[in-house]
C-alpha cells in the first residue's frame, strides 16, 4: 500500500500554496491503478479468508470454542474483523492515519473527476452525502424486502411459508438493518450534504472522519448481511442476552455489525457536531441557525455520546462469544440485565436519533411552503435540545416488566412522559406556522404534513406505553411495534422523503416528477396507515411481537395489514421509479431555487461548486423571514470579511 500523503508546499508565511504539478493520491488517481470500491471489495474478501484461516489456526483445537458445536467463534469473528480492515485499507481510509505516523500531512486535493469519485474515499462532503443517499436506500430496500417476507408469513396463523428459524432470522435482520439504516438515514445523506451549505461553510471540520463514517457504514452493511450466510440470529434487533450467548455465529455478525455501525455513527456525529459548532458563517449566531441544523446538532451529540455505550455492549457480547467471558451469563457471575441496561441506555437516545432529524426537516420545509416565518423559533430549538437531553434518562421504560428496579418505575414513567413536553414544542411550531399561512401543497409539504399526522399517533400511543399499568397489556405486543413504526417510518422516513423531494433538485440539479410524486405520496400515506393502524388493534387483542403463529381470530386484521403492506411496498417501487425516471431517464433541469426558499443552501450556485461558496457569506438576520416586505436577505455574499463575525466559534480564545 502506498501512502497518499505528501509534503505540503506551503511557505512559512502560510499563504496560498504555489501552483505547480502535484502528485495525486491513490484515492484520487484516475484509472484502475488506484484505491476505489473495487480494491476495497477485493481486500475485504481476502481479509475475510485470512481471518478465517487465522482463527482456525489459533483456536481450531480449543474444545470449548468449537468442540461440540462444530463452530469456531474465533474464526468467525476474525474473518469479519479482517474483512472490515481489508475494506478500509482497500478504499484508502488508512492512508492518512499511517502517513501521520511519519509526521506527514495530507494536502486537500480536488476529488477525481466524473462518476468515479463516488466510488472512492472522497473528502468532499457533497460526494459523501450522495454516497450516503445510495447507501441508506440500499439498506432501506433490503430491510423493506424482508418486511414483505414477514407480512407474507403472517398471512395465515398456522400455515407457514418459512420455517420458524428462517422467520426469526428474517424478523431479526429486518429490525437490525432498518435500525442501522434509520440512525443514518437523514444525518448521513442530508446532514452531510446540507449542513455545510446551510451554515455557510466551505468544508466539514474533519472530512476524513466524514468519509470514514460512510465507508465504515457500508462495511457495517456487509457485516450485518453476512449474518444470512451463517443462518442469521434469533434475537431480533434488541439482541437480548442470554439468548444472544446461545445463538450461533450469525450473532457475531449482529454484535460486530452494531459495533462497526456504531463507529460510523460516532464518526459522523463527531464531525458534524464539531462542524456546526465551529464552522458557522460569520454572523450566524445560535439564534440564526436554521432549524434543520439545530436538529442535526442535537442528533449528532446523541450519536457521539450514546453510541459508545452500544459499542461497549457489542464488545462485551463479542467477548462472550469469542473468548467465553460471561458478562451476560447469570450462572457465571454475569447478568442478562447488564445487556438490557446497556442496550437501552444507548437504545433510547437512538430512538431520538431517529426522530429529531425528521422534526428538523419539517421545521425547515414548513416555512418555505407556508410562506411564513417559523412559529416560535426558540421553542423549536429548545424542543430539539430538550428531547436530546431527556432521552438519556428514560431507558428503563423499555424494562418496566423486566423486574429491574421495579420501584423506579414511577420515576421513569415521569421522565418518559416529560419528554412529550419538548416533543409538543415541535407541534406548537408546526401548527403555529400553518396559522393564516399561504400553503403551497408541493410534495415536500405533503410529506411534512403527513409527518405531523403520523407522528401524532405514534407520539400519543407512546404516552400509553409509558404508563406502567397500560404497559402491562401493550408491552412487547404489536401495539409497540405499530407505535415505533408510526414514529420512525411515519415520522423519519416520511421526513426523509420530504427532504429528498425538497433537496434533490439542489443535490442533483434535477427536479423530481410531481405527478409521480403525488402518486407516491398518496399511496405511501394511505397504505402506511392501513398497514400499521390495524396493528394497534392486533396488539391490543393480544398478539406478541415476532411470532409466527397467532390466534385464528386475528387472521382478518393481519391479512388486511399484510395486503396493505404489499401495497406500501409497491409505493416504494413508485418512489424508486420516480427517482430513476426523474434523475436518469428523463431528467428535467431544476430551477436554481425551485421552492423560493430563503435558505442559504439555495443561494449558492447550482451545481454547487467544490468549495460551496464563492465568498463566505455573512449572516445578517434571522432565517425564515418570509412574506416580510423589506426584510434584508438572510446572508450577505458581498464582502466575505470576517471581522465582527463571531459565530460563537471558540476561535482565537483557544490556547494554541
Amino acid at each position: 500500500m502506498t501512502i497518499s500523503a505528501e509534503r505540503p508546499t506551503e511557505t512559512a508565511a502560510g499563504t496560498a500554496a504555489p501552483a505547480g504539478p502535484r502528485r495525486v493520491s491513490w484515492t484520487n488517481r484516475p484509472g484502475w491503478m488506484s484505491q476505489h470500491l473495487g480494491t476495497a471489495l477485493v481486500l475485504a474478501f481476502l481479509g475475510y479468508l485470512l481471518g478465517h484461516w487465522w482463527g482456525n489456526h489459533i483456536a481450531g483445537n480449543y474444545h470449548y470454542i468449537n468442540g461440540a458445536s462444530g463452530q469456531n467463534s474465533v474464526a468467525d469473528f476474525l474473518a469479519l474483523l479482517l474483512m472490515v480492515v481489508g475494506w478500509l485499507v482497500g478504499i484508502g481510509a488508512l492512508n492518512y492515519p499511517i502517513a501521520k505516523l511519519f509526521g506527514r500531512e495530507a494536502v486537500e486535493e480536488a476529488p477525481a473527476k466524473g462518476m468515479s469519485r463516488y466510488f472512492r474515499y472522497t473528502l468532499d462532503h457533497k460526494v459523501v452525502g450522495m454516497q450516503y443517499v445510495v447507501g441508506t436506500l440500499l439498506f432501506l430496500f433490503t430491510g423493506g424486502l424482508l418486511a414483505m417476507a414477514i407480512r407474507t408469513e403472517l398471512l395465515n396463523p398456522t400455515v407457514h411459508i418459512f420455517n420458524p428459524g428462517t422467520y426469526i432470522e428474517i424478523v431479526s435482520e429486518h429490525g437490525t438493518i432498518m435500525m442501522m439504516m434509520a440512525t443514518s438515514v437523514v444525518v448521513g445523506p442530508l446532514g452531510n450534504y446540507l449542513v455545510p451549505l446551510m451554515i455557510g461553510s466551505r468544508r466539514m471540520a474533519f472530512p476524513r472522519i466524514e468519509a470514514f463514517s460512510f465507508w465504515i457504514f457500508s462495511a457495517g452493511y456487509m457485516v450485518i448481511f453476512s449474518a444470512l450466510f451463517y443462518g442469521g440470529f434469533p434475537t431480533g434487533w434488541t439482541g437480548y442476552a442470554p439468548l444472544q450467548n446461545q445463538a450461533g455465529p450469525g450473532m457475531i455478525s449482529y454484535l460486530f455489525g452494531f459495533a462497526v455501525i456504531g463507529m460510523g455513527m460516532i464518526a459522523a456525529g463527531f464531525n458534524i457536531a464539531v462542524t456546526i459548532i465551529n464552522y458557522r458563517a460569520p454572523g450566524m449566531t445560535w439564534s440564526r441557525v436554521p432549524m434543520f441544523v439545530w436538529s442535526i446538532l442535537a442528533t449528532a451529540s446523541l450519536l457521539t455520546l450514546a453510541t459508545p455505550v452500544l459499542f461497549s455492549a457489542g464488545l462485551f457480547g463479542i467477548l462472550d462469544h469469542v473468548v467465553l467471558t460471561s458478562l451476560y451469563v447469570n450462572e457465571h457471575g454475569g447478568s442478562s440485565y447488564l445487556w438490557e441496561n446497556l442496550f437501552w441506555f444507548f437504545g433510547h437516545p437512538e430512538v431520538y436519533i431517529m426522530a429529531l432529524p425528521g422534526f428538523g426537516i419539517v421545521a425547515e420545509i414548513v416555512p418555505v411552503f407556508t410562506r411564513k416565518p417559523l412559529f416560535a423559533y426558540k421553542v423549536a430549538a429548545a424542543g430539539m435540545m430538550g428531547v436530546a437531553l431527556l432521552s438519556f434518562f428514560v431507558w428503563q421504560h423499555h424494562l418496566f416488566q423486566s423486574g429491574i428496579n421495579p420501584d423506579m418505575r414511577p420515576l421513569f414513567m415521569l421522565t418518559t412522559e416529560l419528554i412529550s413536553i419538548p416533543t409538543g414544542f415541535i407541534y406548537l411550531v408546526g401548527m403555529g406556522s400553518l396559522y393564516k399561512s399561504k400553503m403551497r401543497l408541493e410534495i415536500p409539504m405533503l410529506f411534512s404534513l403527513a409527518l405531523y399526522f403520523n407522528f401524532l399517533i405514534g407520539g400519543i400511543t407512546g404516552v400509553f406505553l409509558s404508563d406502567v399499568p397500560v404497559n402491562v397489556t401493550v408491552h412487547g405486543s404489536f401495539f409497540v411495534l405499530s407505535h415505533f413504526h408510526y414514529t420512525i417510518m411515519g415520522g423519519l422516513i416520511f421526513a426523509f422523503m420530504a427532504g429528498l423531494y425538497y433537496w434533490l433538485p439542489k443535490m442533483t440539479g434535477y427536479m423530481m416528477n410531481k405527478k409521480l410524486g403525488l402518486w407516491h405520496f398518496w399511496t405511501m400515506f394511505i397504505f402506511f396507515n392501513m398497514t400499521f393502524f390495524p396493528m394497534f388493534i392486533i396488539g391490543l387483542l393480544g398478539q406478541p411481537r415476532r411470532v409466527f403463529e397467532y390466534a385464528h381470530g386475528l387472521q382478518g386484521l393481519n391479512d388486511f395489514s399484510s395486503i396493505s403492506a404489499f401495497c406500501l411496498g409497491a409505493s416504494f417501487l413508485l418512489f424508486f421509479w420516480n427517482l430513476m425516471y426523474s434523475m436518469i431517464i428523463n431528467p428535467k433541469k431544476a430551477p436554481a431555487n425551485p421552492w423560493d426558499s430563503l435558505g442559504l443552501e439555495w443561494q449558492t450556485a447550482n451545481p454547487v461548486p467544490l468549495y460551496n461558496f464563492e465568498r463566505i457569506p455573512v449572516i445578517v438576520t434571522e432565517p425564515y423571514r418570509y412574506s416580510e416586505p423589506g426584510a434584508p436577505a438572510y446572508a450577505d455574499f458581498g464582502g466575505g470579511g470576517s471581522d465582527g463575525g463571531s459565530s460563537g466559534a471558540v476561535g482565537s480564545s483557544v490556547e494554541e
Binding site: 505516523l101 464539531v274 455520546l305 467471558t325 441506555f345 470576517s642
Partner: protein, 218 residues
Amino acid sequence: MTDTYKDSTAPNATPEEREFEFRSHIGSIWTGGRLAIGVATFMYASLAFAYFYLRSSNNSHLWRIPGQLAPLYYGWTILICMLVMAGLGMYGHSRLRKGFTNDFQVAGWTGVAAGLIALFFQIWELVVLPFYPGSSGYASTFVAFVVMNIMTIVFATYWLETAVARSLRLRKELGGTRPELSSAHTARSFRANVSSMSYYLGYVGIISIGFFLMFYVQ
C-alpha cells in the same frame, strides 16, 4: 487525531476568509479533543457500569472467586507506563508553550516508548492471567477492561507519536523556523493539536488510575 491545518484551497479565498476558516479550524481541534474525551468517557462509563452492576448483583455468588486477582505486577507496570506517558505528554506540552521544542520531542518520544511498553504488558497480561475469562464476573469485566485499555493505549500513543513526528517534520517544512515560535498556520494548528492531546492524555491518566483501583486493588 485531528486533521492538522491546511489552508482552504478554495482558489480565490481572501485573506480574511483564510483567517476566519483558520479560526474555525483551531476551534474544531479544541472542540474535537473535548468531544473525544466525551466519547471515551461514555465508553469507560459503560465498563464501570458493568463492573459495579455485576459486583452488586453478584449472580450465582460469582462476582469474584475469593483470592481472584489480576497479576498485580503487570497492573503496576501498565499503570506507571501510562502515567509516564500522560505526564510526559503534558509536560512536553508545557515545555513547548515555553518554547522548548527539544524538550517536547524528548518527552514525547519517551512517552511513546512508555506507551508501547504499557501496550506490550497489557497484551501479554492476557497470556498470564491466573483465571479463565468466564470464571467470574470480575474475570469477565477484567478481560473487557483489558481490551478497552488496549484500544486506549493504542489511541493515546498514536496521538502522541503523530504529534512528535509532526513537530520534527514541521521544522523542516518551515525552513528551520521552530514550530513553537512560528506564526505560520501549520505551526499554530500543530500547537492547538498538541494542546488538545495533552488534555486527552491527562484524561487517560485519570482513567488509568481509576480503573487500576477498581481492578487491581481488592
